[in-house]
Amino acid sequence: MTTAQPHAELDPRFAPPFPQAALTVLRNPQLRRNVAHAVDIIQAKRGRLVAEKDDWQQLRSAASAIRSHVLESLGAYLEEFEVRCTAAGGIVHWATDGEEARRIILDILRQEQASEVIKIKTMTSAEIQLNPFLESNGVRVHETDLAEIILQLGEEPPSHIVVPALHVNRSQVREIFARKMGLPELSDDPQILTAAARRYLREKFLTIPTAIGGANYLIAETGSVAVVESEGNGRMCLTLPRTLITLAGIEKVLPRFDDLEVFLQLLARSATGERMNPYTSLWTGTVKGDGPERFHVVLLDNGRSRILRRPVERQTLKCIRCAACMNSCPVYRQTGGHAYGSVYPGPIGAILTPQLQQLQHAQSLPFASSLCGACYEVCPVKINIPEVLLELRSQVTRQERSQARRFFDPLYLGLRLANFLFASPRRFHLAQRLGRIGARLFTRKDGWIHSLPSVGGKWTLTRDLRGLPDETFHEWWANRKKEAR
């Protein structure tokens, strides 16, 4: 029933470059309607609820400062978390990369003799492709978040980090549920579809004794973990099983319990446009008589400590995964999430994915933005995404330019030529005169260039170019003086 194959289109190592992947989506009007419908609704709700909060900017400043402070002292806070969590009965594991995290989790499951697990939605597990790994090792994985069930049963990749199935509409959900749950008479009413998911999962919650989840926050002061959710599937997975495994990125830590007063005010408003999400759970290790008897936390690095080293890019790790940046992004609104070739789409994905890949893959993503700055404006922890995008663009360009095979690349050839011409006024003026003659060949009667040959065609494919004027500013200035005499 479930696929053991990873979604290759969301594996940055194999995904096609953004412009190529985006074309497929741009030619799918149904998908574009689904995505635009969803993000427009969230954006409108978010806008209303942020407007009613007259200390919103102060909350953002506090959140940004707390997150920066944590990153500056990440080692100390992680060690504090480890000590407290262990004292409370938890077992803390450290994984340098996805492979190690998968191995640790499988070892725990083997020890528990678990052939099935229930799972709370966690993007970190998608990052390390945990489900296909577990399935190929004989462990059945049951996603329990409604959107994740839709994706798992429909064998669809996620396209958003908060509402992962927002690209699927109700009739598509009906079709998937009818087929996979054996309910041919199902209607496409979201109420009925949700009830079907409730029935489908109830018995699994009550019988499967092992759960895997993520963490929204790790609290250093107490060793507690907090999970923010809506449906109650999280509470089920956190409470009913005998063994709970939490997979968390090392950057998820907050210094104190009280710091939640900032983040719980920002997260739901930013993510789903609610004053507060229906359920937030916090637990500390294992608690006698309440919840799992065994609790494991797997702290995942997977490239994060490398990002810490770079002063501009470090802010990427402040992210609390609210997805406000993708909801506000004009590019994401058109392309949806799949085109980003990563489980982290949108503006945050465009900066996070290439860094997690050490710029060996996903080099097209920093360019998948118009740099309009909407993402920065809505970010509850003030990540200056355009600034990081520009930094990554310059790194990608530097990397490409130094490759021998790019020496005759028309783009770099052109840039070297421009560099040469712009270095001297004489050369520049000469180039202007020659350019004017050359451009005349392509300028239509309306004064616009509608298509250029060769590399220039890439530009004119989607835009027109104004023809060069008969006189440059310098020429006009010089002539004006002559006339005045």
Binding site: S73, W94, G232, M276, L308, R309
Partner: protein, 219 residues
């Protein structure tokens, strides 16, 4: 369970390398933390009556049922609220006051109830640890009056008795009044919900599908 210490050391070393210019001694950490800007609203501005009306308004927006009562009339209010659900089988935490357990209902008091029996209950009656008016949030710390987590999760109806003196206006006020960080917390803002299908909000996925709040004016 073997916990690999080499990965731990490798990750912490990599973090230290990355933060060499910023991480300082433990004393510095505390000072830097204290110095973080926190200029957002800490206290609310509403009178207590207005604060309670705000809570009621927020809870209604989430689709919760609200009843208001006095300490003297509480047992009757509980009985009326339970009757309004049309259900009979209710669970209750062990430390709940016996006059809350209205006659005429089948009570399953949690002296280590098996999961099946909790699942079999149609509703649950509990107290609360606090409530936050601004976001319409009921807070459970899962103490003796609130029951363990499972108790307020499996039954389909949650009837929660909340004292007016437990209500604060803002989230920071709630955190100020916690003497020590609790081991377990569930912040509940309306009944379980999802908007995963076309952003249509559907009430009641896996948690209780109805939330009833009995607000007791105790001051």
């Amino acid at each position: 369970m073997t916990v690999s210490s080499s990965s731990r050391e490798a990750i912490l070393a990599a973090i230290r390398m990355g933060t060499a210019t910023t991480a300082k001694e433990a004393g510095w950490l505390h000072e830097a933390y204290q110095g973080l800007p926190r200029t957002y609203h800490h206290a609310g501005s509403l009178e207590s009556e207005a604060c309670l009306s705000l809570l009621v308004e927020r809870l209604r927006e989430y689709g919760a049922e609200i009843a208001e009562t006095t300490p003297q009339a509480l047992p009757d209010a509980i009985a009326a609220q339970l009757a309004s659900t049309g259900k009979r089988r209710f669970a209750a935490p062990a430390a709940l006051s016996s006059d809350w357990l209205a006659p005429g209902f089948e009570w399953h008091v949690d002296n280590d109830l098996p999961t099946d029996e909790i699942e079999h209950c149609e509703g649950v009656l509990t107290g609360a640890a606090a409530a936050i008016a601004d976001s319409g949030t009921i807070v459970l710390h899962h103490g003796p009056q609130e029951g363990r987590r499972l108790l307020t999760l499996l039954p389909d109806i949650h009837v929660c008795v909340l004292l007016a003196s437990q209500v604060v206006e803002t989230l920071p006020e709630y955190f100020r009044q916690c003497i020590a960080p609790p081991e377990l917390v569930t912040w509940i803002s309306g009944p379980s919900a999802t908007a995963d299908i076309e952003m249509t909000r559907i009430k009641g996925v896996h948690g209780p599908r109805s939330l009833h709040v009995i607000l007791v004016h105790d001051n």
